[in-house]
Amino acid sequence: MPGPTRRRALSSAAALAAAAGAGTLLAPGARAATRPHEPEHRHGAPESFDEVYHGRRIQGRPATGSGHHHEHGGGYAVFVDGVPLHLMRNADGTWISVVTHYDPVPTPLAAARAAVDELRGAALLPFPAN
């Protein structure tokens, strides 16, 4: 990404809005599926999302059931093209995933988009890693 660092860009509501509005980056039909605003941080889990970002379907939703085993997503599950992305919520409300583990972003949607950026089209493997 040109200009500021990805961390700063993803921390910036303006950058997020710009990315969401960049229709050329999204697959046809993606705009309709994209929420107009980031789910806001609140005390409970963030809202669900479902969009196509850079040609990849990313979905997020509050996790139901026990959801233990290897997942510690703070009660929230994210998928990239249907494959679960290991997600974690930090104490300050920020989020990281296993593919951008050292770079917190504000929301699960931002973490999913960062994962798509990092994957550059590669398939995500189900966790735990083989």
């Binding site: 290897h70 510690h72 974690m88 930090n90 296993v98 050292y102 493997l125």
Partner: protein, 274 residues
């Protein structure tokens, strides 16, 4: 006694022996066990639950022991090898000798991040990325892309000046030296370096890049420097803390070593400047 040297001071022969031992661990399958262990801890350590390897006071002793295991594995291949450290506050550009083809190789190409030179380039055929979170089997880097600047020496000094080792709630929200060094709070040292390197180093399977060990050897050295500066400040907490490794509690996955056993690095190795 093992002496850990600044990577910038290594001779050509020392570089060749280090990379040769790393490649042999890879060939034998022993290397990937380290990657697997690290990823298991990074996925399991949480701010609100049990935490051992990361985002907790035991971040530093856990990695000290993890590096000792790796260094001993290297020495079982070549007894002359010690882990070098990368002082990223000094050797802070892509032109550092660290990234030359006779050592770790350079950054990845623009199209897919693939490292194209050095002993760990996929084309050399000796470095398959097997423990991974996505389909790509080649080592990747994007030096300086995820974040522009490595930490400066002044930023390192500001963190070394923090007198308290760690503070409640003993996680990524903590104030104190450990969390500032780890980077979840403040100027961000350790985390930022992972992001600066990019590729696998920015993921849970970061030990897939051999620079992982050189980065953590310097983080470990900064802990030693902090102890020298603050001889009256010790590891905390010292007892009775749920989900957190207290001073005299054993650490997973070894279960036979405590932070208290790892505070004094000179029992295991020394650094080239001491």
């Amino acid at each position: 006694m093992t002496v850990r040297k600044n990577q910038a001071a290594l001779t050509a022969d020392e570089k060749r022996r280090f990379t040769g031992a790393v490649l042999e661990l890879k060939r034998s399958g022993r290397y990937d066990a380290f990657v697997r262990t690290h990823n298991a801890f990074i996925m399991a350590d949480t701010d609100t639950g049990a935490r051992t390897g990361h985002r907790s006071p035991s971040f530093l002793p856990w990695h000290r022991r993890f590096l000792l295991d790796f260094e001993r594995a290297l020495q079982s291949v070549d007894p002359s090898v010690a882990l070098p450290y990368w002082d990223w506050s000094t050797d802070r550009t892509v032109r550092a000798a660290l990234w030359a083809p006779d050592f770790l190789g350079g950054t990845g190409r623009a199209s897919d991040g693939r490292v194209m030179d050095g002993p760990f380039a996929a084309a050399a055929g000796e470095w398959p990325v097997s423990v991974r979170v996505d389909g790509r089997t080649f080592l990747r880097r994007s030096l300086g892309a995820g974040v522009r600047e490595l930490p400066t020496r002044a930023e390192v000094e500001s963190v070394l000046s923090i007198r308290t080792y760690d503070m409640p709630p003993y996680n990524s929200a903590s104030d104190g030296f450990r969390n500032h060094l780890e980077g979840w709070r403040g100027v961000n040292l350790h985390n930022r370096v992972h992001v600066w390197v990019g590729g696998q180093m920015a993921t849970g399977v970061s030990p897939n890049d051999p620079v992982f060990w050189l980065h953590h050897a310097f983080v470990d050295k900064l802990w030693a420097e902090w102890r020298r500066r603050h001889p009256d400040a010790g590891y905390v907490p010292t007892g009775g803390t749920p989900d957190v490794v207290d001073l005299d509690e054993t650490m997973k996955p070894w279960n036979d070593v405590r932070p208290a056993d790892l505070l004094d690095h000179t029992a295991f190795y020394t650094f080239d400047d001491e």
